[in-house]
């Protein structure tokens, strides 16, 4: 399986949610994130309402729950990391829970959006909304090369596995560091080649 399929597999499904215009979904999602993030504590019903709405949309979208939850769990450790810091203050537990709930709702909104909207449609929606083109181009390039980079990392891991004969954890970690370094060097070299390619087709 190519790395790309791990990510984009559900955006091409067909459902009432998938068929909605991308721009509409994008702005609803952004509005929801802002509302949930800014809602004061007394408005406890906002995150809950949002969660209910998301559950409903998820059902309509026919995206397998396994995919949605899987992606959410990838991001969750970062949320948890930030939220845990809030435990060390007064009223820590309630802040911790509020932070966790709000962040999870926000991230799930974006996960659901990414599972129901092809990336190119996002990019078009951003362009139509007159988001500065340098930002849109950067996002588009990032998305395009994420897969190239992932494939490269997978190939390097395979090459390493093919010549690793005895498991040795310490050695593994050191190798991982050198793989990360290699990947960084390769991507800077690639970035330069991409820029040359853009220049030679008239980029200014």
């Amino acid at each position: 399986m190519k790395a790309g399929e791990l990510f984009a597999s559900s955006a091409d499904l067909d459902s009432p949610v998938h068929r909605l215009p991308a721009a509409m979904k994008l702005w609803i999602a952004v509005a929801m994130v802002v509302l949930v993030a800014l809602a004061p504590k007394a408005w406890w019903f906002v995150p809950w309402g949002a969660a209910l709405f998301l559950a409903l949309v998820s059902g309509l979208s026919r995206v397998p729950a396994r995919v949605l939850v899987g992606r959410l769990l990838i991001v969750e450790p970062f949320v948890l990391g930030v939220a845990i810091l809030s435990l060390f203050q007064e009223n820590g537990v309630s802040i911790f829970l509020a932070l966790l709930a709000k962040s999870t709702v926000c991230i799930y909104t974006m996960v659901l959006l990414s599972c129901t909207t092809p990336f190119t449609a996002w990019i078009d929606a951003l362009r139509q909304a007159r988001v500065p083109s340098i930002f849109v181009t950067t996002v588009a390039l990032m998305y395009r090369y994420l897969y190239v980079l992932l494939d490269e990392a997978l190939r390097m891991r395979r090459a390493r596995a093919a010549r690793s004969f005895a498991p040795n954890r310490r050695f593994d970690w050191r190798l991982l560091a050198s793989v990360a370094g290699q990947l960084f060097l390769r991507s800077t070299a690639r970035a330069e080649r991409i820029y040359s390619a853009m220049l030679s087709r008239g980029w200014r």
Binding site: G4, R144, S196, A197, S200, W203
Partner: protein, 246 residues
């Protein structure tokens, strides 16, 4: 016939001081197809990057290279990039847009042309009709290569510069590429290790080694010169050994 490319005393050093190109002199005539051969690290790709001004990083005031009589200086950079289309070695470097359509439309948009007319035409030319909304990450190497070529052709270049166009292609993909290139009537410069492709497409070859041009002449004459070929990490291609009747 006009002179398409005139290289007159081109030298280049990498930023670490290594000499990559050393005082090159050659000309390419309009609609000529020239092969550029030489061992790995000879400077082939570096030379190609000079042909439309991607290298050097800062252009010198006096040009050592001109395209259809136009010297390569800052003021002419845009017009020269328009005239020289560069096909890169790794298609992933060249296909930087999320979809094939956008990638092919990139050049025309930059040049202020109408992509709606151009893109379908060049996609048909390279045999990629129906690939408009495909993402490059889901295409085979041969398809990617053809998409790159479409992106270059969309800018309507007068000189086509190709860096290892047949590498990583399967035999059918390679055959189709050769047929496609043969159909294009424009000036072509092809750097390749695929000497059989060079024999099929190019009437003339330049042999580059350690940044110097060590031979320049008709393809069959040079590629048949076994001592010369071996001295520069090359070999006499099979196709020439068997061109006489058995």
């Amino acid at each position: 016939m006009r002179t398409a490319l005139d290289v007159n005393g081109l030298s280049y050093r990498y930023s670490d001081g290594t000499a990559a190109l050393d005082d090159l002199h050659f000309q390419v005539q309009e609609s000529e197809c020239v092969g550029l051969i030489g061992p790995n690290g000879a400077g082939k790709s570096t030379l190609l990057l000079h042909l439309n001004g991607v290298l050097p990083e800062t252009l010198a005031r006096t040009a050592t290279l001109s395209v259809f009589g136009e010297p390569l200086v800052e003021a002419n950079l845009r017009s020269i990039r328009r005239q020289v289309g560069l096909l890169f070695q790794d298609p992933d470097d060249q296909l930087f847009c999320p979809t094939v359509y956008e990638d092919v439309a990139f050049g025309p948009k930059q040049l202020g042309l109408d992509p709606a007319e151009i893109v379908p035409r060049v996609l048909a030319e390279v045999g990629l009709v129906g690939f408009e909304s495909r993402s490059p990450s889901r295409m085979s190497h041969g398809e990617k290569r053809r998409a790159c070529l479409a992106g270059v052709l969309a800018c309507d270049p007068a000189i086509l510069v190709l860096d290892e166009p047949s590498s990583d292609l399967d035999p059918r993909g390679r055959r189709e590429l050769i047929a496609l290139l043969r159909r294009l009537p424009i000036t072509k410069i092809i750097a390749s290790h695929d000497l059989e492709l060079v024999v099929e497409l190019c009437s003339r070859v330049l042999v580059l080694d350690r940044g110097k041009i060590v031979a320049d002449g008709p393809t069959t004459e040079i590629l048949n010169d076994e001592p010369l070929m071996l001295a520069h990490g090359l070999e006499r291609p099979h196709i020439l050994r068997h061109s006489h009747p058995h």
